[in-house]
Amino acid sequence: MKKILLIVPFLLTGVLLVAVMADDDEDHRSIGRSIGDVAVSKDATYIKECGSCHFAYQPGLLPKRSWVKMMNTLDNHFKDDASLDQKTTKYITNYLVKNSSDNAMDYKRSRKITNSISVNQTPHRITKTPYFIHKHDEIPKKIIVQKEVGTLGNCIACHTAADRGIYSERAIKIPNYGRWDDD
């Protein structure tokens, strides 16, 4: 899994793209189109209501069909009660759908997550999407179960800039382990 650092002068459009971390495993054609990993979530209501029990996952990490399903079953949300009043539920559902991964295909991770899921599947978790599984299948279990992390859903414990929508390898720092280097 070698990572290549590409310097792509983006002459045609007049934009200078400084450096792009390209994955060796997926389409190189679309590299230049990426405008970031995932769109940052800034909505105050979303962060308050969906960021109280865990990291406020960016809407661009799951397709709309997953969000709609989740928002219809908040009273039994992974065995927890995350129910909200009707007005707030509707507001957040709209926000999630509008910014879902399949509506944010200009963002690199959103595009890769979307493309990894087959059309007849509706994953309940980000951590159950094929792209996510593929990226995390080499992490030793003992690193995940330690108190500072607990579950793979605790993105920000390892991805120190996750709240800014940045998931690149350079911004990974695993507690009691340090920087990740898989080369």
Binding site: C53, G150, N154
Partner: protein, 138 residues
């Protein structure tokens, strides 16, 4: 007349020192009315009873032993960690964390969710009042 009014206001403020804000006090008062309905001998909420509600362990919604303190910690003036998600939780004590117990809607929402997590049912009005007195005393 003016003097009397001033005195009234002063004593009101004093009685409320360390107490709840007006909207929270309104919520507490409505809980008292409810508690009285189901228990004739009910006089007032009690922080000692609240402590037991908060610290005792029960087989919760997930089939495992859990208490309120499993997520909020034993010392309410310290940060703690969510037992389900490992996310850190700011102190519950209103003395260390003045935002606590100030927004009625938030308090109602979390009491409903959290009693379900621990007791697999909603709290009774008396239980809610007792536990709020306990948190307030910390």
């Amino acid at each position: 007349m003016k003097k009397q009014l001033a005195l009234l206001i002063v004593s009101g403020v004093l009685a409320n020192a360390g107490g709840f804000n007006p909207s929270m006090q309104g919520y507490i008062d409505s809980l008292k009315v409810e508690a009285k309905k189901s228990n004739n001998s009910f006089a007032d909420f009690n922080a000692k009873r609240g402590e037991l509600i908060f610290t005792s362990k029960h087989i919760g919604k997930r089939g495992r032993e859990i208490s309120c303190a499993s997520c909020h910690g034993a010392n309410l003036s310290l940060s703690s960690q969510n037992a389900f998600t490992n996310k850190s939780i700011e102190p519950l004590s209103p003395r260390t964390n003045p935002k606590r117990l100030t927004n009625v809607q938030d308090v109602q929402k979390w009491l409903k969710r959290n009693f379900n997590d621990v007791y697999k049912r909603e709290g009774t009005p008396q239980e809610k009042g007792d536990v709020l007195y306990y948190i307030k005393s910390k």
